[in-house]
């Protein structure tokens, strides 16, 4: 059974909290990683590595740079 968007959002919130200390509740779909959550590019790499382990989805570097918002990541993982 495919994970629901809510499951992925919760999983992503846990990963982002673990890596950056940002409360998981602040990780909501409309947030921009750079502008709203203040996450830098190396942290994004850490998040991508952890997300690959958690959701079994490879996120290539050239795709990663297009993932600007939490919603972008949710969509990428679901597809």
């Amino acid at each position: 059974m495919a994970a629901t968007e809510q499951d992925i959002l919760e999983g992503l919130g846990k990963i982002i909290n673990e890596i950056t200390g940002i409360p998981a509740t602040e990780v909501t779909p409309e947030k921009s990683f750079v502008d709203d959550l203040d996450i830098d590019s190396l942290s994004m790499v850490e998040i991508a590595v952890a997300a690959q382990d958690e959701f079994g989805v490879e996120i290539p570097d050239d795709q990663l740079k297009n993932l600007k918002t939490v919603k972008d990541v949710l969509t990428f993982i679901q597809n």
């Binding site: 673990e18 890596i19 950056t20 200390g21 190396l42 590595v49 382990d53």
Partner: protein
């Protein structure tokens, strides 16, 4: 004392060691004669001939915020914990960034990261590595992270000389202040090397105690039955300042860091030179640098790692270079040997001895070996005399590196 010479003072202390998670708990444990050596339970333990070590009393990953600890190698975690304690202890001086330096060393660097990252790379591929792998394994990482944390811009350095690294860092920091490069320098040593490969490698050098049935009795400097060193982990950090700067801001002064002496044996890559000429020379240079004589030195926190080869040579050199009168101890009998961290924690302990005028007894010293004429403190702690007192911390490293730091009571 030369009229125009910059004098260096110690204003802050920090430590996380096998006997305590901070300076006070570590120091109390030493005065109580408690060993921090424990039997290990790691999965590699059946593959090595040594099954114990001085593991940190407090896990630094539990002290630091999780996002920070996951980006730091364990050696960096120890350094950060001890540096923050030292900085707060010094009253968090509001020094200009360009006048603040950091010199923090380790003997081996982020070897836990190196080895676990290699496993990840082999088993799962390059793109599963943390982007922080390089700053976790580089030996200047602890200094660099502390420099970032405090905003130090006068220079951030990591001197590397195996088990003399921590003491060399303190010496280099003193030199930075005396040369006018900085007003305040955070200095010391850190190590996190309790890993199967390190234990195997030191055991292959026949340097480690294999007293597996009595871990707490294994580190026994100068005892006739000693059979090698016990690996420890942790960090010790001092805040050093020019006396002028410290007094202007009204800082509490623990002690003067009055002199440092260096030498190299140039004899053998691991064996100490049997006459102790190199280590005598380091002590003599340090006394000259401190403008003190052997009579002024009342205490020696010795390198004394519990190896058959090194312990006696050192105290014979102490007798020659300083005299037989100082109260000599080895706190490694309780902490084990922190390698690059040793000079850091033992400088902290030397300063505490001067401040409280007490020398913790060496434990496990049941039968003093032959050829020793210095006054070894064992059985019970001893007090240092009233009046002016100074003390020495010795650190020696594989490669023949010898460093002596002299502290003088405030």
């Amino acid at each position: 004392m030369s009229a125009n010479r910059v004098r260096v003072v110690v204003t802050g202390l920090g430590a996380t060691t096998p006997v305590g998670g901070d300076v006070n708990s570590s120091w109390s444990a030493l005065l109580a004669g408690q060993s921090g050596v424990r039997t290990l339970t790691e999965d590699w333990i059946d593959t090595v001939p040594v099954t114990f070590a001085g593991t940190a009393a407090v896990d630094p990953a539990e002290v630091l915020p999780r996002p920070e600890s996951r980006r730091l190698d364990r050696s960096e975690q120890f350094a950060m914990v001890a540096a923050r304690e030292a900085w707060q202890d010094a009253g968090a001086p509001e020094v200009a960034p360009e006048r603040l330096g950091v010199v923090v060393s380790s003997g081996i660097g982020g070897i836990n990261t190196t080895l676990s990252a290699y496993d990840t790379y082999k088993e799962r591929g390059w793109n599963r590595l943390s982007p922080f792998t390089v700053p976790m394994l580089m030996p200047n990482g602890p200094a660099a992270w502390i420099g970032l944390d405090l905003g130090a811009q006068a220079g951030v350095h990591a001197t590397v000389s195996a088990c003399a690294s921590g003491a060399e860092a303190i010496g280099y920091a003193m030199d930075m202040i005396r040369a006018g490069r900085a007003d305040v320098v955070v200095a010391g040593g850190t190590e996190a090397a309790i890993h199967g490969l390190n234990v195997a490698a030191f055991a292959a050098a026949r340097a480690m105690s294999t007293r597996n049935d009595d871990p707490q009795g294994a580190s026994r400097p100068w005892d006739r039955d000693r059979d090698g060193f016990v690996l420890g982990e942790g960090a010790g950090i001092l805040v050093l300042e020019s006396e002028e700067y410290a007094k202007a801001r009204g800082a509490r002064i623990y002690a003067y860091a009055s002199g440092v002496g260096y030498s190299a044996d140039s004899f053998h890559i691991t064996k100490p030179e049997p006459e102790g000429r190199g280590i005598s020379m380091a002590m003599t240079h340090a006394l000259t640098d401190a403008e003190l004589t052997g009579r002024d030195i009342k205490h020696v926190n010795a390198h004394a790692t519990s190896t058959p080869a090194g312990d006696v040579i050192e105290v014979q050199a102490v007798a020659k270079a300083i005299g037989a009168h100082p109260l000599v101890t080895s706190t490694k009998s309780m902490t084990g040997h922190l390698l690059g961290g040793a000079g850091g924690i033992e400088s902290v302990f030397t300063v505490k001895s001067l401040q409280e005028r007490i020398v913790p007894a060496t434990i496990n010293l049941d039968t003093i070996d032959d050829g020793i004429e210095v006054d070894l403190v064992h059985g019970a702690n001893r007090t240092l005399p009233d009046g002016d007192i100074a003390a020495v911390n010795n650190s020696f490293g594989f490669g023949g590196h010898n460093v002596t730091v002299v502290f003088k009571g405030a």
